[in-house]
Symmetry: C2
Subunit: 147 residues, 2 copies
């Protein structure tokens, strides 16, 4: 009945991944492998590689192939906000309009779309503003504080 456990963990996993690489590099290592990260995240390495592929496309991560291959940050943790991460992996909006277009003959059916779009735009803007406040450096600081 109850117990909603839906929602995306993608942002969580992405932040975890990048923070892990950042700390690992800070400890003197050149690159991190998807397998190491997957162990910390407790998932499959392919899931990490897929995610890092998107983060690389957004200019947040980089990879090296061949022997001694692995992943590294493209920018310092302090230069990456959660908004950057969010935008790299969550292209879809939080709220959607109707799945099937409502009755255009009805006043409400006709005007509700634009009306809600305006609200949703503001909501997304607020969400982004909030995510922009936190950098991965902040996240790492919190993580280390909890240890």
């Amino acid at each position: 009945m109850e117990s909603d456990v839906s929602a995306n963990s993608r942002l969580t996993i992405a932040a975890h991944t990048l923070t892990w690489i950042g700390l690992y590099q800070r400890r003197g290592h050149e690159v991190a492998t998807s397998e190491q990260i997957a162990t910390s995240v407790n998932t499959n390495p392919v899931v990490i590689r897929r995610l890092l592929g998107e983060l690389r496309k957004a200019g947040l991560a980089d990879s090296r192939r061949g022997a001694g291959a692995g992943w590294m940050l493209a920018r310092d943790l302090a230069a990456i906000t959660l908004l950057d991460v969010y935008q790299a992996i969550e292209p879809g909006p939080v709220f959607a309009l109707h799945r099937a277009t409502p009755d255009p003959e009805c006043v409400v059916g006709h005007g509700i779309g634009p009306a809600m779009t305006a609200v949703y735009d503001d909501v997304e803007a607020a969400l982004r503003r909030e995510l922009a406040k936190t950098t991965l450096e902040d996240v790492l600081r919190d993580v280390l504080k909890a240890a």
Copy 2:
């Protein structure tokens, strides 16, 4: 690959439904039927009844059975914010933590949960603050303006 068309339309449908009832009542009708609303929303009446059931539980709508049955608002449109609607139908958070608990032996795996929870709490708060700014009266005004 691309083309994310996910997200919930539940808030949209709920706002549409309540606004429709509000306008219908304002035009002199006592109650609205789930079938009438479903026609405007372009979905199945059962979907509307299910949703209205949740909205009634939250004290936003009411229903009458027997002959002359139907739905009515429990409060005026001006006294219902989108946050009220959201809370009535969206119990789950926007973002989730890890599906499987990360490695507790790892510093990051251990501390990332609380760190992200703090951020997500702020994000949800911002989202709610934004939704609270708009009442269904505002929505109706926008809808009629567009007509």
